[in-house]
Symmetry: C2
Subunit: 291 residues, 2 copies
């Protein structure tokens, strides 16, 4: 948990940053993956698979390796070399597909039925949601009850897990999505899943077309809120964290802080705010481009 007086002054509140960028595999995703692998392992599963090319893929590869389990990750042929290298480095098998002509979920189901692997989806899964919630559980253990907890939202696993972990100990739970992607805000307003087209945003961890069914049910039950931030606001937050906090976060990892720094959280003067810096997996060359 990082704190910064410069940040507190900028926001006019007391902020506690849960630094999941410093987490193993570089993101909170290792929490859900570890939980899912533990549960599946206890049921005798020896081979897991997923179709996420992002942080969840790397996290599942690592969690499976530590449990002595096989892991297969479907990745688009044009995935960044850094991501496939890291996933392979954790001992996973990579199967590539053409993202423009092939449906990754159908391919994953085919792979599962061919190999007997169990698919571990990136967010729409109770074990994943519960695992992700341990980030906020630890944050509350470290700093006590909070007025607001802010996390990025893509598929909703992290925010839903945070709602479960925070029940009764946090007044407001706020998700932050890219301004151009309204999947979470529209779903909360409608009360059901809303599918949106993939939008252009630097927040590659949050381009998912919809919030998962399981996470959404939790968000509605716990009256979670969602706000949007622009890419420019996210870059400014990344810069602030580098310059004043000396830590590197990926764009989605800075979304929560961007909301706090731009007033998108509404009236928070004097409050105690927890912000999950969800991950730090950004290539150095991409980083210099963004900055």
């Amino acid at each position: 948990v990082l704190t910064s007086r410069a940040l507190d002054e900028a926001v006019g509140a007391t902020l506690f940053l849960k630094a999941e960028n410093l987490q193993r595999s570089g993101a909170f995703k290792i929490r859900g993956a570890t939980n899912a692998v533990a549960i599946l392992g206890a049921r005798g599963v020896r081979h897991v698979a997923t179709y996420s090319s992002g942080n969840h893929g790397q996290a599942l590869a690592l969690a499976a390796a530590e449990a002595g389990m096989l892991c297969t990750v479907l990745m688009p042929t044009d995935a960044p070399e850094g991501k496939s290298a890291a996933t392979r480095g954790y001992g996973a098998k990579i199967v590539t597909y053409d993202r423009y002509t092939q449906d990754r979920r159908a391919l994953a189901e085919q792979l599962a039925s061919d190999t007997g692997a169990t698919i571990v989806p990136p967010f729409d899964d109770a074990a994943i949601v519960a695992g992700q919630g341990t980030a906020v559980l630890e944050l509350l253990e470290d700093v006590g009850d909070l007025d607001v907890v802010v996390t990025p939202i893509g598929g909703g696993g992290l925010l839903a897990g945070s709602c479960l972990a925070a029940a009764g100990r946090v007044t407001r739970l706020v998700g932050v999505e890219p301004d151009a992607r309204r999947a979470a805000r529209d779903a909360l307003a409608a009360g059901h899943q809303v599918e949106v087209p993939v939008v252009r945003t630097i927040c590659d961890g949050q381009q998912t077309e919809r919030v998962g069914e399981i996470p959404l049910a939790v968000l509605l039950q716990h009256r979670a809120e969602v706000v949007g931030v622009t890419d420019d606001e996210v870059v400014a937050a990344m810069r602030f964290l580098l310059h004043r906090g000396k830590v590197l976060v990926e764009p989605s990892g800075a979304a929560g802080l961007a909301a706090a720094l731009t007033g998108r959280l509404g009236r928070v003067a004097g409050l105690r705010i927890g912000v999950v810096l969800s991950g730090g997996n950004v290539d150095v060359s991409r980083l210099t481009g963004l900055l």
Copy 2:
């Protein structure tokens, strides 16, 4: 204290990184400054001054502000705007001078006799040396005894303080200086201070022309070692820390890790190595240039 399995694999040893880049004021210098200000304050001093335009200047400004003491910092007219803004932000008064025509130490002494301020030098001072040593003291408290402790060396305050803190608990103490600046290696070989011209290096925290007299006596007594690293090796270590560790260090802050990553520490296979990441104060624009 940060750890990284990727780093341990790269070095073939177990590394413990003391992250002084996350320290208040962005560097270990706040330790010595706080100690000096506490000692001087107890003696009734109400105004301190220094001629360091680097991290020590910022640290002294902050330590003085917290103690309710006046602080004056001499800075060259062409100091980076970020550094003077930060120093001013901590409430210090800045007096500028022309670094090409004026002698900063003479100016500081004049200032002291005019205003009654007490000069707190950046490294050649027992209170400063003792304060800097608390970084390694805390490291040993956290992780236990170590085989090797590595820190950057400029004027020698940090390495000398580390020797005092580590006595009997660490086998080897190693300082790392820019390859082009032999002030520390030559002084240890000669057994007395050696003055060298200011060299070109990206390690701006280690351009000092000599190791201080007080630190050098401690280094000789404790048989500390010093090795050199090139600027390219330092940039590679900064990159490694950003990419794998998700933390930002300034060039001098990465010097210790650069020595570990390039084999400059000699045979360290299987050993437990503490590395002080001494600071993180590097402008984002300079960072992108270096990367």
